[in-house]
Symmetry: C2
Amino acid sequence: MSSHYHHGDLRSALIEAGMTMARAKGVGTLGIRELARAVGVSPNAAYRHFASLRALVLTVAQEAQHRLSRAILDRMDAVPGEASQAERASARLRAFGLAYIHFAVTEPGWFALTCESQEDPPGPLATEPPPPPPHQILLDTLDAMVEARVMTPQGRVDVEWSCWSTVHGFAMLATAGPLQAMPPDATARLADRVIGTLLKGLQN
Amino acid sequence: MSSHYHHGDLRSALIEAGMTMARAKGVGTLGIRELARAVGVSPNAAYRHFASLRALVLTVAQEAQHRLSRAILDRMDAVPGEASQAERASARLRAFGLAYIHFAVTEPGWFALTCESQEDPPGPLATEPPPPPPHQILLDTLDAMVEARVMTPQGRVDVEWSCWSTVHGFAMLATAGPLQAMPPDATARLADRVIGTLLKGLQN
DNA sequence: CCTAGATGTGTACGATGTCCACATCGATGT
DNA sequence: ACATCGATGTGGACATCGTACACATCTAGG
C-alpha cells in the first residue's frame, strides 16, 4: 500500500509542531522525541532534517523571529500619517517598542524562542522571503528619524542599543521577571510610560 | 572508623559547587548527578537537602543574587562625596547601572542564575544576613534622588521600571545577545552611553 | 548502652538525545 | 517495464539524566 511511510514535508511539520509546543508549554520542553511523537513519526526521522535537537530549536527560533518581525512591521505600518514627517517617525519608533513588548507578553513562548536566535547555517530557506530581523527594522526606523530631523546625526550614534536594551529588558521583566504576574493591560500602560521616558532621553 | 560517611556540610558544599560550575560551564549544565560527583558524594545524598534539582538551582540562584547585590553596593559606596547631594545621588544611580552590567559581563554564568531567582521557600537562611535584592537597592537609590531634588515626586513614579529595563536589557544583550562578541572595554563604553541617555530621559 | 532520627548509599525505572543497521519509497536511466 | 539508487523513515541500543524506594551508617539523647 502507498502508506504514509514518507511523510511529505516532515521538516515543516516539525517546525510547526515546535511552534505550537513552545507556545503551549515553554521553550525548555522542546524535545526530539516529543516533537516526533506529535507529528506521528519515529524519533530518528527528525535526524534526516536536523543535525541535532539544538539545530531544530534554532530553526524554530528563526521562525519565531520572523513572526516577531512581521508583528512589528504590521503595527508600524498601521501608524497613521501624522501632521509632520517628524511626528510620524517618532510614532513609528514608539510603535516598534510597543509591538515588541506586546508580542512578548501575548506570546511569551515564542518570544523566549526569539532570544535563542543566533547566526544559523541550517537548511533551505522558506518559500517566501524572510522579513528583516527586528534589529534591522530598528536601525531603519532610527535612520528615518534623523532624516526627518527629529534626531541629530550625532545623537543617532549608538542609540539603537538604548532602544533595544529598554524594550528588550522590559519584555524580559514582563515575561520571565518580576512583572510576570501583572495583568496585561497594566503591563501595556507601564510599557507605554517606559517607552515615553526612553524617547525623552533620545531627544537632541 | 569515623570515615567521611557523613560529609559535614553537604548543603553548602553543593551550593558552592553549583556556583563554580555555573561560572565555568553555564546554567544549563547544572545537574544533580554532576554536582554530587563534584562534591564526592552519591547522587541521592543531595535529596536530603534539596527537594529537587529545581530547588537546588533556585538556592544557588539566590546565592548568585546576593553576590550581585554586594557587587552593586560596593560600587555604589565607592562613589565619592560630590559637590552637591544631587550630583552624588545621580552618580549613585549611574554606579548601580554600571555595576549591574559589569557583573553580568564579567560573570555571565552567575548573572544568568540571578535571572532564575524567584520567590523561594527553601531551607535555612545563611549565617550572615542577606543583602537587599537589587530591586530594593534600585528603589532606595531613586528615592534618594527625589530627596536630593534631582527628580520630582511625580517624575519618580514607575521610573524604576525604566531603569531596570534598560540596565537588565543591556546586560541580556551583552551576555546572551548580539553584543556577546564585543570586547569588554567596548561593551563598558557602550554601557556608559546607554546609561547616559537613560539618565537624560529621567530628568524632570 | 541502646535506640531513634538524620544523613548517605545502591538499585531501579522511565525518559531523553543520539548512533547504527535496516526498511521502504519515489525518481531516474535503460 | 524494470532495476537501481538516493532520500526518507523505522527499530534497537547505549549512555545519561532526575528521582523514588529500600537499606546502611553515623550521631545525639535517654
